[in-house]
Structures are given as C-alpha cells and as structure tokens.
Point group: C2
C-alpha cells in the first residue's frame, strides 16, 4: 500500500462548527430571542393563554429546539422577570453612584423604572408577576424588588431631609410612586396615542407635582375676590 | 284494616328542610364564605399555590361540599373579581349621583377605590387579575374596569374645567391615580404598620398634592436669600 505524504499546511481549515466563544454567543442571542418573543406573547395574550407551541410557532422553530434554550414556560417567565429587575437595579445603582440632588436622582430613577415597565420584560413583571412561579423563585424575585424599593425610600428620605420633598412617610410615598409607574405596565398598549417617552415624562410630572391646581398666593386671591365682588 | 282519621291541624309542622327563601339565603351565605376564604388564601399564598383542597380544609368541609357552591378555582376567582369591581362601580355611581365639586367627588371615589383594593376581593383583582381566566370572562371584567376608569377620567376632566385640577391629560392622570391606588393591593399586608385608613388618607393626599415641597412665594424667597447673603 503506497502512502502519499499528507500536505502540511498552516492555513486554518474552516470548521463547520463555531468556535467555543462564538457558539456561546450565538446560543445566548437565540436564547434572548426566545425570551423576547415569549415575553411579547405573554403580554399580548396572557401567560396562561400562551403555550410553548405558540412561542415555537412565532419563532418558526420546533418545540424540541425551544427546549435547547429554555426548560419550561416558568423558566422563561422567571428569566424575563429576573432580567427586567436586574436592569432596573443596575440603572438605579448607576444613578446613585452619579450622586447629585436627591430630587434629580429620584426623577432619574423614576424614568428608568418607567422605561423598563414599558418594555417587554418589564411588562411581564407587572402583568404576570411572580404568582405562577414556585416559592423559592418567588423569593429571589422579591429580594430583587425589595432592593429597588429600598433605593426609592432612601431617595425620598434624602429629598425630605434636604427640603426638596414634602415631609411624608418615605415608605408609603415610595410605594405610591413606584405603584403608579408599575401600573403603566398594565395599561400600556404599543398602539396607544401617547409614546413611551410622553407617558414617562407626563406621568412622572403628575406624580411629583400632584394633580391639584396651584393655589394662588393670598394677594392674587384677594385681587380675584375684589374683581368679582360688587 | 282500620283507618284512624288524620288530625286536622292549622299548626305548621316544623320542616327539617328550610323554606325556599331561607334556604337560598343560607346557600348564598355559605357561598360567600367560600369566596371570602378562597380570596384570603389566594392573597396569602398566590392563586396557583392554592388548591380547592386548601380552601375546603380551611373551611372544615369536604371538597364535594365545596363543589355545591362553586364550580372551580377559576369560577371562584371570577366571582371575587366581579364582586370587587361591582362594589367599586356601585360606590362610584353613588358619589356621582350625590353631585358636588369635581375635586370632592374625585377624592370620595379615590377613597372608595382604595377601600376595595385593601379588601380581600379587591386584592384578588390586583394581585391575580384576570390572567388565569378564559377569554370571554376576561372580556366581562375588562368591561367593568373600563367603566370605572371612565368615571375617573370624567371627574378629572371636570376638575380641570372648574379650575380645581391642573391642566392635564385626564386619561393619563386617571391611570396614574388609579394605578398608585391599585398597587396598594400588591404591597399591603394586614400586619403592616399603617392601618387601611391611614394608607388611604396619606396615599390620596400624596397623589393629589404631589411629593414636591411647595415653592415659597417670590417675596419669601427674596427674604430667605437676603438672610443668607452677606
């Protein structure tokens, strides 16, 4: 048997498989696409009314392919909620590190909060919440939420201390502000009349300044009374 | 065979069965007890984590007994949510019929809203919502919710028109106010530090008046500046 010597070459042979790093990246990208599609369907149809089949269909893949990226519908929900809360936490941490007046920081944090609540994953947090998830996972999400809530309380307490905010119970005020912002995730429809930015800007202004008309100063009031009295 | 003549009597014979009306009443009372117990369990443990067995156990009855009053867990949730929304609607209708200043009516409606959201059935509306329910039932509940939302919008528009409220988008403002009040149903714990009345009063005041410290009138600001300047 004659053996032809192998041609030694330094040229890399193009592998039909992706290199480790690129493969992980590709997988992560696809996993994110699964989560995003699922979140959008949950928000459109409700969590219970959405099946893994629906998600697979929307992505043009088979259900077994889906299982390569996610374990279950619960797993998807958990990941969507976890990512939304993690983004919120990171955004708030950045504002806090930047420092500045408490009121400015509060406003910036409210804007971050509203932005995430208006987004696919954030809407899942609000519209579905952790109720369908098993207790240990619920606990993890509650811990994340509590951290965000505490930042709001601290900021409000700082604002009361520096005189930019009214004297109030920071815990209750934090719940009212975050509550109104959270609720946006329930009623917001991407085809509505207001853009996400308009909703956030006008909504935050209403929450900070209230809805009551400003009371005119006493002098103006007296003038107004004089004008109408005979 | 001798026949003893029946003793004719006008005295009513006590029936071991309750008369029609009383029986219906008893059944309705028991059905309400089932709903109330279920709502409390849903709020404590979550809708998914509560089984019909849990509800039966808490009521010291068998599961077949439960089925005499309700068809399913979905049926219970629907009824809890429906009753909460109906109470809200009735309360708001009463305020509207009473008339008076738009701001006073708005405040009264917000108090009714908060009161129901702090209650067992109302907390179900907020914590669970209609997501687990089949589409036709969801639709019914959304119709009820939309009616309540419209009353808030009208009241805000009237308040803007009579000058007691700031110029604002009544739709957005209604969503922000009702949203913050709704969210109470998510965070409220009966063992918390504030009573339901304190939460409602302080929460409504924060929403109407905002959290910003009042800006002192120009004269006072000038005086304050003079004081600190050399």
């Amino acid at each position: 048997m004659s053996t032809t010597p192998r041609r030694s070459t330094t040229r890399a042979i193009a592998s039909p498989w992706l290199a480790g790093g690129a493969r992980t990246n590709q997988r992560e990208k696809k996993r994110q696409a699964v989560l995003q599609t699922a979140a959008r369907l949950f928000n459109e149809r409700g969590f219970h009314a959405t099946s893994l089949d629906d998600i697979a269909e929307r992505l043009h893949v088979s259900k077994p392919t889906l299982y390569y990226y996610v374990k279950s519908k619960d797993d998807i929900l958990l990941e969507c909620v976890r990512q939304a809360l993690a983004m919120m936490q990171a955004g708030i941490a950045e504002v806090r590190q930047g420092g500045g007046r408490a009121l400015d920081q509060l406003q910036a944090c409210m804007r971050i909060y509203a932005g995430i609540v208006l987004d696919d994953f954030g809407r899942c947090v609000i519209r579905i919440g952790e109720d369908p998830l098993p207790p240990p996972l619920k606990k993890e999400l509650r811990r994340l939420k509590a951290g965000i809530d505490h930042e709001f309380r601290h900021l409000i307490a700082e604002g009361v201390a520096d005189g930019s905010l009214k004297s109030c119970d920071p815990k209750l005020a934090a719940f009212m502000l975050a509550g109104a912002l959270s609720w946006i995730g329930r009623w917001y429809r991407p085809d509505g009349t207001l853009t996400p930015t308009q909703i956030a800007d006008q909504g935050i202004a209403l929450l900070l300044g209230g809805v009551l008309a400003p009371v005119p100063p006493p002098a103006a009031r007296k003038r107004a009374t004089r004008k109408t009295s005979p």
